[in-house]
């Protein structure tokens, strides 16, 4: 695991994202290898979410995003899901008026293999028994933690190799944050490569193999977990004392 040389699973080269005249991402390059957890940390407005949105095809971008060696240029967002990238958006994006079950099955909208889908559903329910209990309940009646579990569960339904998580700990109590990070470790142990965007830098760095620090649209720093957690600049700016 980790920085083994070879073909990266996800390779971002000189990526730029602009919203009108505002440049949110100004030439970012990064690589993610199979089996890794890579964290992206940085302050509000550093461009982390925009980077994820570009990778999953939600916003137009300059530069290059390659997955499994193939360019994703011109591939729309809903097709990138089929290529192997699942994005859990900031704020969870669950379908509030649809049942938990409908939320989960929507992630398989493009798939036709009923047995495979049933198997994935079973895996999700085994991991999150609470979702099974609530499967007939509308998504917006779940608690914040349960909604995050639902968002991650829905992402698991896509059964993809790479998962982009945008602020999974947002708005959750410290105890639930621990739970979420435990879930992330477990999913990764199950073979899913994870890109994790977090404001909670401490937890994110600890949970990851490597990390990138973003500052106003560029990557200011990168390194392994130990390098980042001992770097005085990171400690000063993000970890606090």
């Amino acid at each position: 695991m980790g920085e083994r040389p070879g073909e990266p699973l996800l390779k971002v080269t000189n990526l730029t994202v602009s919203y009108g005249p505002i440049k949110a991402v100004k030439g970012v390059s990064l690589e993610v290898y199979r089996g890794e957890v890579v964290s992206l940390i940085g302050a509000n407005g550093a461009g982390k979410s925009s980077l994820l949105r570009a990778i999953s095809g939600l916003v137009p971008y300059g530069g290059e995003v390659a997955f499994e060696g193939g360019s994703l240029a011109g591939v729309p967002a809903h097709k990138r899901v089929g290529r192997g990238i699942t994005h859990v958006p900031e704020g969870r994006g669950i379908f509030g008026n649809l049942s938990v079950m409908e939320n989960l099955t929507l992630a398989t909208w493009q798939r036709k293999d009923k047995t495979g889908i049933a198997g994935d559903l079973d895996r999700v329910f085994t991991r999150f028994p609470r979702l099974r209990e609530r499967s007939g309940q509308p998504g917006n009646t779940l608690s914040g933690g349960e909604q995050q579990m639902l968002a991650i569960g829905r992402a698991l339904m896509a059964n993809n190799e790479c998962m982009l998580l945008d602020e999974p700990s947002m708005g959750l109590s410290p105890l639930l944050v621990e739970d979420i990070f435990q879930v992330i470790r477990e999913i990764n142990a199950g073979g899913v490569t994870i890109v994790l965007v977090e404001q909670n830098a401490n937890m994110a760095i600890l949970a990851s193999n490597r990390g990138y620090v973003m500052e106003s649209g560029v990557i200011a720093l990168s390194g392994s977990r130990d390098e980042l957690s001992s770097d005085p600049r990171v400690i000063d700016a993000y970890l606090g004392v």
Binding site: V81, P89, N97, G136
Partner: protein, 338 residues
Amino acid sequence: MMKIFRTAIHGQPAGPRRPMLAVIIAGFALSIALPYFGLLNKYVIFVLISVGINVILTISLNLVNGFMGEFSVGHAGFMAVGAYGAAVTSVNVIPRWMGAAAFPTAILAGGLAAALVSLFVAIPSFKTRGDYLAIVTLAFAMIVKSALENMDVLGGPRGFMGMQQFTTLPWVFFWMVLSLWAIRNFVYSAYGRGVLSIREDETASELSGVDTRKVKVLTFALSSFFAGVAGGLYAHLLQFINPSMFDVIKSTEMLIMVYLGGVGSIAGSILGASIYTILMEVLRPMGVWRMVLMPAVLILLMIFRPRGIMGLRELRWFVYKAIPHSGAAAKGQNIGNT
């Protein structure tokens, strides 16, 4: 009350199959028998036919505004295309000796014309996100009206006539059941769940792999098809159509029926169309004042029940059996099928 109504969004197992088919057959038999034995006078039959046509219009608009969460305000435009399409087909294309036998062909032609024209609206306006559809559909309805007014072959502002009165109670009942059935099956299918997800969160929908653009265009075309069917029925009821029948007021009426009955609800569409149509008839003696009363009712409704009478809820009857529910999930069956 909660026993009969169920939230469509809840995935609880739907009740045992109610005798839906029996009710449809009984309704159809009644729609033939009542006029045949002269049990209803012509006026009542006319009102019932209007209710049926309005149910079709309401479910059609509800598909876009209620189930998909987009906002079309120019549905009278599609109704107009359907009305003229069906009228021209039946007057100029179908030989007269074929009589009522070719009536379904004329109606289908109207529906298909409306669906085809809807693509010209849907494809460009769904390229971008946001509330463009409201403006585009409003403009579209105006274009259709002024285009019809300027086409002398279609009679221009004087209108078009020559259709026989083929629209009878049984035919309207048939088309109403067909449109309700088609739209129910569509929105409760695995594909149709994509329509609902667009209403809930379009970004998340796309991230779940839903081809949101394709779903939106297709849903809009299906909706327009049934608006066109309703237009065709309308043309063969009045035997005369002119462009000013399909003005902004007509579009507004459809919106009122949708929001009165309830967004995202099939039962609500039936209820909204029936209440509105019958109330407008009952209040006819009030003259101009009914146009004061009706908006007042609507305002009160928006205050006390902003989603309409049946907003986002469904009569158990109309809920499709195979919505995945906890029981099915435990056994790993019926997942994601239609």
